[in-house]
Amino acid sequence: MSEQKNAYMYGIGVLKTLGLAFRHFIETYIDDIRFWGKRYRTPEGIAYRSSKDVKGVFTVQYPDEKIPVPEEFRYLPFLIYEEKDGQIEYRCTSCGICAKVCPPQCIWIVRSTNPNTGRPIPDPAEFYIDIDVCMNCGLCAEYCPFDAIKMDHNYEIANYDRQFNVYDKAKLGRPVSYYASIRPINYQREEEARLEAEAIRAARKV
């Protein structure tokens, strides 16, 4: 074994290893010339640096540059509301499935009741999410039957005080248009399913 080892102990392997680093170094400059100033801080430069063809340095200089997140990216839930005649109407019916499915149990819902009859009405009086506890698993959004709670794309939520980390209904609310803008494919699919279901319901009524 030791004889064998001595046979190749000439440092060629080390030189090869250094060659890899050197090649990497050169390739970065070649790419810089090839892109001519567009390798950094441009969408195509960022896309190139996270593609399979990238050579040389592949670092994305956050926060100057940001990698666009994919549609399925999930970071903290939000509640969807629709705007009708200047009124805000949450899609949530306070059915409680999200609170039940939530693995770390960070969702707290108070149902509202009709003051006259005392019966529950499908609109949450309060809705809290403790984002210190939330583990961004996305199960609430996955199992919500009303497409009322969805996962956000905004990951820059650092702050100085923990007391702001319990989000209430107002802080969780986002308009439908926001949802459609961050998840266009999902939104379209859900809208189509909704229209279809409505058509079936209308047909049944007739």
Partner: protein, 580 residues
């Protein structure tokens, strides 16, 4: 293979009449053994029937029955399903003989069962707490033990809906009030003991230097817990004679969060994202193992496309893990962060795929019982194809070309930390550590799960058992994973990705199941006991990083102190999984 096992099992009750009986409880498998006959029976099984490879030892607390059960999963190192043997003990005084003399791989697992369940193993060489600390009161996995911030036995907690006024858990149970101490223990006046029990376990050999006649003193050095080379908060108490290791005891549990107790509180589905946090490099594999265990209980199978997606994700994960290991191992060799970042570049591209598919780079939470969470978005398969057919083979060859014959790497790795095949089997090593020692044992072949029997691939094996072979086998395995991925990408069918309708309440019938996958680090097993409720009664993780540490002392004795770092790196542990 299945029929052979059944044939053998019908023999078992005849071979050991009055000792072994079938476990007759509905949807339980295996045998009950009388605890007093455990050792002779296991010896017979090991020496004459080929069950030489202990897979897992754990305990279950059957509180209503007043029983404590020790569950052994024993395998043949030539393949096949495990033999499940259970010894039922009295819950008030659970004592059983230790099987460490027969299977040294049980050492840490029995310590864990003692620590968490309070089962005493007589004859264990070093029965101390392993995950909890010495000032801890009680055994947390017992069903009558309650944690701090305890609300209810099982989620979902009733306070969340319909009247969910937010209360922070710390307000109800302030910091300092959420701990219990053993009788007579005062945390204020407590001075940490000099850990005599730990250090006493280290070998003590006083010797005179033969040449000079000078008496040398051996010193104890603690490597870690806070040291970058330990890959997390892991500590090794080392006894040194000069630079040479003469004794080593691993100390772990600094990252312990009692994952298994949390798992028992969770619903079956709610536990899925928690498995991501075990070995956080390989959340897809962790999901896979857990999904298999619960699916076995439920008696469902995912549709064709979902199976292909699962295998694809599991193999991509293996590449991610081995790339990460490559980087960390090079760091341990002293090639500070340059090769590491080259490996991480490829890992990053695969994580982009995970993010596009599951929504998260590392905490994927992608598998569901009977399928996967969502179909692969448009364009992602093309990305995977680009990686698998074009970039990754090229890049892995690059790493191989530039590192494998590097003189420094060879000098530091060859002949260091040798594990013989006999030791590897005896110490219950799994995965690359076992295969680098010349034992071609891979669960994908030994006990095929999912659709692995359809693919053409080789079980990578190397024969020297040293650090260098443990490094090389990772490269081999990446090539084999690429081979599987290429077949997956050619064969992936269209179709549904979920069996039945996605359900947030999963109905899991009562029974037990052991689901295991060949994770990147080795056999990752989930032992789940259900009693028909929405939450598992017992949820145990057979963690490969934890059990692969059992032979660490054997590997290190005689090496230099700098080699310990490399040996530990080559075993490939992740503390999230070791400490659970």
């Amino acid at each position: 293979m299945e029929t052979q096992n059944i044939a053998l099992s019908s023999e078992l009750t005849q071979l050991f009449p009055d000792v072994i009986s079938r476990d007759e409880r509905p949807s339980y498998e295996g045998y009950l053994i009388k605890p007093e006959h455990l050792i002779p029976t296991l010896k017979e099984l090991r020496d004459n029937l080929g069950y030489d490879y202990l897979s897992s030892v754990t305990g279950v607390d059957y509180l209503p029955e007043g029983k404590m059960e020790v569950v052994y999963h024993i395998r043949k190192s030539t393949g096949g399903a495990p033999l499940v043997i259970k010894a039922q003990l009295d819950r008030q005084n659970p004592v059983v003989e230790s099987i460490v003399p027969l299977y040294p791989g049980a050492e840490f697992q029995e310590r864990e069962a003692w620590d968490l369940l309070g089962i005493k193993f007589e004859g264990h060489p070093d029965l101390r707490r392993i995950l909890m600390w010495e000032g801890f009161s009680g055994h947390p996995l017992r069903k009558d033990w309650k944690e701090g911030y305890y609300e209810e036995d099982a989620k979902p907690f009733k306070s969340r809906w319909p009247v969910g006024h937010y209360v922070s858990a710390e307000e109800k149970n302030p910091l300092g009030m959420n701990v219990d101490f053993p009788a007579g223990f005062d945390p204020e006046s407590w001075v940490p003991e000099p850990e005599t029990a730990l250090y006493a376990g280290l070998q003590k050999i006083e010797r005179d230097d033969e040449e000079t006649g000078i008496g040398t003193e051996q010193v104890i050095v603690n490597l870690g817990p806070q040291h970058p080379s330990t890959h997390g908060v892991f500590r090794m108490a080392v006894k040194l004679d000069g630079e040479t290791i003469v004794g080593l005891k691993p100390v772990m549990g600094y990252l312990h969060r009692n994952h298994e107790k949390i798992g028992e509180r969770n619903t079956f589905l709610g536990n899925m994202p928690y498995t991501d946090r075990l070995d956080y490099f390989n959340s897809m594999s962790n999901n896979f193992g857990y999904a298999l265990a619960v699916e076995k209980l439920m008696g469902i199978k995912p549709p064709e496309r979902a199976e292909y997606i699962r295998v694809m994700m599991a193999e991509l994960t293996r590449i991610v893990n081995h790339l990460a290991l490559f980087g960390f191992l090079m760091n341990d060799f002293g090639a500070y962060f340059t090769p590491f970042l080259y490996a991480f570049e490829e890992r990053e591209l695969i994580l982009d795929i995970f993010e596009a598919v599951s929504g998260s780079r590392m905490m994927c939470n992608y598998f569901r019982f009977g399928g996967v969470a969502r179909d692969i978005p448009d364009g992602v398969l093309e990305k995977v194809k680009g990686l698998v057919f074009d970039r990754l083979p090229r890049k892995i060859d690059d790493l191989n070309l530039y590192i494998t014959n590097n003189e420094v790497v060879r000098h530091r790795a060859e002949g260091i930390g040798v594990l013989t095949p006999e030791q590897a089997i005896a110490y219950s090593c799994v995965g690359p550590v076992l295969r680098a020692s010349g034992v071609p044992y891979d669960l994908r072949r030994a006990q095929p799960y999912s659709i692995y029997n359809r693919f053409d691939f080789d079980v990578a094996v190397r024969y020297h058992g040293d650090v260098y072979d443990r490094y090389l086998i990772r490269l081999d395995e990446m090539h084999q994973s690429l081979k599987i991925l290429q077949q997956v990408l050619k064969g992936i069918p269209e179709g549904p990705i979920q069996e039945g309708k996605p359900q947030y309440i999963v109905k899991v019938p009562a029974g037990e199941a052991y689901g295991c996958v060949e994770g990147p680090k080795g056999e990752l097993g989930f032992y789940v006991v259900s009693n028909g409720k929405p939450n598992p009664w017992r949820y145990h993780v057979r963690a490969p990083s934890f059990i692969n540490l059992t032979p660490l002392e054997t590997l290190c004795i005689g090496s230099k102190v700098a080699d310990v770092v490399v040996i530990l790196g080559s075993i490939d542990i992740v503390l999230g999984e070791t400490d659970r």
